[in-house]
């Protein structure tokens, strides 16, 4: 059982929901990312999603695209990010998942990458352009090294795929709270709740919702059905606007986390 699974187990025992925060690795700089992640833990964040910068992300809106570009311009490499996780692991047991485009994994070498994740202390992978049917090898490798492979269910996902994807997914299921890209529109809480209730008929695994979530009201409403809420673009925006200034970031995230408690 890796840190993500342990986290959901302990949250469930306490009848609590997970707050999952997304940060772009290397924006503004990897040292800062490290500090931000440690501060997020103190603010009550349960799981961190590190966005691995990619030149051509398919499912990301302008906010995350721009943050990727800033990180890439700073020269951030996949290896540096793995090293950052390794350093973080001396200080924290906070569950960490990488959210990244498949080409970066493929290019690194699937087996080498999974082993490197394991060695560094990465607990899960979220790969938006890799549906379970293209992930047969990666899933087997991840399973062998106890890394969660988190797959998606979208509002457009048909029932047969809901079954297949929830079965394939480990750690949790990522429910896309809107039909679209990250951060560009607001998720409508009522339809998200309804969809998650539907998905839960097919699985006992935790279902977490993300995309278009930025307000305490949304967090509160969606967590009625979801086991966790994921906030991404909104946090990335606050980090960028405040140049990584920790108190400002913590203030915003605490505000959201409190809505969950």
């Amino acid at each position: 059982m890796n840190r993500i699974e342990q986290k959901f187990k302990s949250l469930k025992a306490k009848n609590k929901k997970a707050f999952i925060a997304f940060v772009t690795a290397g924006d503004p700089g990897l040292r800062k990312t490290e500090e931000i992640i440690l501060a997020l833990e103190k603010a009550g964040v349960d799981i961190v999603e590190m966005g691995i910068p990619f030149s051509d992300p398919m499912a990301d809106g302008p906010t995350i695209q721009a943050s990727f570009l800033r990180a890439l311009q700073k020269g951030v490499k996949v290896q540096n990010i793995l090293d950052t996780v390794k350093r973080l692991r001396r200080k924290t047991e906070l569950p960490i998942a990488f959210m990244m485009s498949y080409n970066l994994i493929f290019h690194y070498g699937q087996e080498q990458f999974i082993k490197a994740c394991r060695a560094a202390g990465v607990d899960g992978l979220i790969v938006p352009d890799l549906p379970p049917e293209e992930a047969v090898d990666l899933r087997a490798l991840a399973k062998r090294h106890d890394i969660s492979m988190i797959f998606f269910v979208a509002p457009t996902t048909v029932e047969a795929r809901i079954k297949a994807n929830t079965k394939a997914s480990t750690g949790f299921i990522y429910y896309l709270s809107l039909t679209g890209i990250t951060g560009t529109q607001k998720a409508v809480s009522s339809s998200v709740v309804k969809h998650i209730q539907h998905i839960k008929r097919f699985t006992d695994k935790p279902v977490c919702a993300g995309f278009g979530i930025s307000t305490p009201q949304q967090v509160k409403e969606i967590s009625k059905a979801a086991d966790g809420v994921i906030v991404g673009s909104a946090i990335v925006k606050v980090i960028n606007q405040n140049k990584g200034n920790l108190p400002a970031v913590i203030k915003y995230v605490s505000f959201l986390v409190d809505a969950l408690r």
């Binding site: 990619f54 970066l104 938006p128 979208a154 457009t156």
Partner: protein
């Protein structure tokens, strides 16, 4: 074995690396397309628009003066430049818009590099009264302003894309993001043999009319098959359209011409098959221009339509299996070829097509005896006149 396989793979290349939001529509598209492929009514309708609207069949023209200039080559030009809108792209957009109509989609989106696919999409959308949005890299909007104007005239909305290299790959990223957002009512007309399964096979099938016609036309005149096929390769739709119907004619040699840009050694090129490595971009596994970390590199070519760091997966398969050979031509050589064909035959080819023409001089030096070649004259050069004027 018939390729692609059920999962959309041509050997090791292809597949469906799609966000979950698009999986349902891609599965639906695949099912519908498989049915339409066998649907006589659909095929008849497609053929009707190809013939009556786009102007098919196109001529296979024996280029006499070019042939005598090249000496050892007997060059036939497959005149896709004579099609409505001036390039082969219309074959595919007519096919896809008919699929979109059958699927009940009312909003059409497309990406475009040189603007030819954008124009062909805007044309097809106007023909059927559908709303059309075209994503185009901001740099290409500047390079190909005439095509932007044509699209707007036909009622399409052209959205300049300011991200990344501001060229074709970024236009495709943005079109994909639009599709992820508006998938319910929107059909994405991809312009090349790239993207998620079933796009590479669907676009290949629609463009195969090029090779099927050329094969028949050549057989009729020469009573044999050609020795060579030559076509330029960006994403690879005109070349695949020419090559595919000759796939089983193992004696017919296929040559795809990539853009060497400022030179292969400079790093400023679009020679994906010659210089790229295997990776995943825009939904399929194929060769890519990428750096040591797997980040996509910026391609360069004087021809906006070749300026793409990926290539259709079936080309990667043809290369790996040895069925086709892929060579390169620089910006400079392409410009010279454009001038050459204009002077010798009174045909001004597109900058993209000029890469294929340019390779003929090299091929003429390679062949041991007089050989016949069909070149896909994929588009006309009108759109490039502004850009080319500084080289004349």
């Amino acid at each position: 074995m018939m390729l692609p396989d059920k999962r959309g793979y041509f050997g090791d290349f292809g597949g469906r690396f799609a966000p979950e939001t698009l999986m349902a529509v891609l599965e639906d598209l695949e099912k519908q397309y498989q049915a339409l492929k066998k649907d006589k009514g659909f095929q008849k309708e497609f053929q009707f628009y190809l013939n009556e609207y786009a102007g098919r069949p196109t001529n296979l023209y024996f280029a006499k003066r070019l042939s005598s200039y090249l000496k050892r080559l007997k060059v036939y030009l497959k005149r896709e430049d004579l099609l409505h809108t001036g390039a082969h792209k219309i074959n595919n957009t007519l096919g896809q818009i008919l699929v979109a109509r059958r699927m009940g989609k009312t909003r059409i989106i497309a990406e475009t590099g040189a603007g030819q696919h954008g124009v062909a999409t805007a044309t097809a959308a106007a023909l059927f009264g559908l709303k059309c949005i075209v994503y185009m890299g901001a740099l290409d909007v500047k390079r190909q302003s005439l095509n932007v104007f044509r699209m707007k005239l036909m009622g399409a909305e052209v959205i300049p894309v300011e991200s990344g290299s501001k060229t074709l790959k970024d236009a495709m990223n943005e079109a994909l993001r639009d599709w992820v957002t508006n998938v319910k009512d929107t059909f994405y007309i991809i312009g090349s043999v790239a993207g998620f399964h079933p796009y590479p096979v669907m676009v290949r099938d629609f463009q195969s009319v090029i090779g099927s016609e050329a094969r028949q036309q050549f057989l009729k005149v020469e009573k044999k098959l050609p020795d060579y096929l030559v076509a330029c390769v960006g994403g690879g739709s005109n070349s695949m359209g020419l090559f595919y119907p000759f796939y089983n004619d193992s004696k017919v040699k296929m040559i795809g011409v990539e853009a060497a840009g400022l030179g292969l050694h400079t790093g400023h090129h679009s020679a994906t098959l010659n210089k790229g490595t295997v990776g995943v971009l825009h939904g399929s596994k194929s060769r890519l221009l990428q750096d040591n970390d797997g980040q996509i590199q910026i391609a360069h070519s004087i021809a906006a339509g070749l300026d793409y760091p990926g290539v259709g997966p079936e080309h990667s398969y043809y290369q790996a299996s040895g069925r086709a050979e892929y060579v390169t031509i620089t910006d400079k050589e392409a410009v010279e070829a454009l001038k050459l064909l204009s002077r010798l035959e009174g045909i001004i080819p597109a900058m993209e097509t000029s890469h294929a023409i340019a390779y003929l001089e090299k091929l003429a030096k390679r062949v041991k005896k007089t050989s016949s070649v069909i070149v896909c004259l994929s588009g006309r050069g009108d759109k490039d006149m502004n850009q080319i004027s500084k080289f004349i």
